[in-house]
Symmetry: C3
Subunit: 203 residues, 3 copies
């Protein structure tokens, strides 16, 4: 049960980020091949950096060709049905936020499985959640990300802290995962909608 | 015989990319030290990413100081004989294409040796072939690459698929390697000469 | 004694780069969270690349949460006392140079402990010393670095060669470390003050 919940979360995260990557690449008018590459990088980027840092090699997608097929299928379907989606920007944002929540939980749990320090697990969750989107935006050279990057990370750190707290109070692992995914998803939408930001340091 | 063919291909790839890196850096008027660094990064960049992803660590060039000496010697000789080479841009392009073919085969074979899935092996060959040039162009901040990047990758994927097909039909490994290197080299020249490209997706 | 000297050097390097990162980020007027991230990346960037390349995984800071706490404390204290520091640019440069010397020695010694070739150890020392600052400047998008990058690296290579020479002549390890740290620190200040640079290759 535990393992299958993890597998479902990872699958949904992969699909969410593949969709978000495909939309981003289409917005920038890349050719068909470029769209697939961006979808792939967005989907596996965070997990790859995570696996490199903790030394769980070969990295996940190299051991599991099904991940690659899921990304390919998702991206092709997204391109195919693109005409049916009117609000491209909003859709992209929603799938990006969902992927963020899903992958943060995947990274958190992997850190715990490796017996790493709680603080490091939060960092690992944040890296897994954020780096796919960061790599995507870097490759596509989109400017607005720079302003959202920090909010991105803070939401993941908050989610990570809540997850560890829930586990500490013996809340069921699957329930905790669901709560944290929902928390990250909703918090990010609120933060972006209200344009919340950190205070700048005066010098 | 098998091992020595691999070693020769790797040596030739290292030399090709060291030459291509040196030319690129000289075109951008870097100082002597900068030229050596770019030559080195172009030569070992693809293999380093490959070894990191599959976890074959320390990465290849850290275990074999001869690779570093070959790059150093190649780069110094290239700088020394630069006045004898008239068509800098064409020479750079030819060595870059040759290195692409050679390193793609090295990466493909390494993936097969590690028992990875055929699709992943093609990805690994593509990464080994492409990332040296991508890193070089990123560091030198040359714009034109962005347009060629996808053609770069597609040629490698095509070569990888042909290689696996040849091995499947029991063609001799060394013969298969030679065919694929020649295929990638020639295809890339044809693609660039005729300015072939993928269709853009309309949105 | 040996181990404790290493630990002190690593601690001082971490603090130096955390201060240099904090100053850099404040100069660019980042918000509080951004400053912490830049301080962290500057401090652990070089060691992370080093550990990835030699395969000493999980990377150092993932195994030692105290490093993270030291960076956090250093950065917060630096922000707090910033009004007392008049010459921000000079202070940043001094701490950056000190961190460069300290981390180069850490990287060199780690390479020797792993039984790598002397030339590779020098490369590893250079990577450990330079990559924190390079990553910091890349993230902050500061232009001047590009001109200093090569001097950065050359000073580390010089320091590495002297370190291996001192060990070869049986000089005490701790004394050798101190000499090399001082050498890199002083050489870099002289190089930058006198605007020394390498000859450009004419084409």
């Amino acid at each position: 049960m535990f393992s299958s919940t993890s597998a479902i979360i990872e699958l949904l995260g992969t699909i969410s980020f593949a969709i978000s990557g495909t939309f981003s690449a289409m917005q920038r008018r890349l050719d068909a091949f470029g769209v697939l590459i961006i979808a792939f990088v967005t989907s596996v980027g965070g997990g790859t950096i995570r696996d490199l840092l903790i030394g769980d090699l070969p990295v996940a997608w190299m051991r599991d060709v099904q991940v690659c097929l899921v990304i390919l299928a998702t991206s092709v379907l997204t391109i195919f049905f693109k005409t049916h989606i009117k609000k491209l920007k909003v859709t992209l944002f929603l799938f990006d936020s969902l992927g963020l929540g899903l992958f943060t939980v995947v990274g958190l749990q992997k850190g715990l499985n490796f017996g790493l320090n709680p603080g490091i697990c939060i960092a690992l969750g944040t890296i897994t959640g954020c780096f796919g989107g960061i790599t995507r935006d870097t490759l596509l050279n989109t400017i607005p990300l720079i302003f959202q990057k920090e909010i991105y990370a803070t939401v993941c750190i908050l989610g990570g802290a809540v997850y560890l707290l829930l586990l500490h109070f013996q809340v069921n692992t699957d329930v905790s995962k669901f709560i944290v995914i929902a928390l990250i998803f909703v918090t990010r939408i609120i933060v972006v909608q209200h344009k919340l930001s950190f205070p700048r340091i005066n010098y």
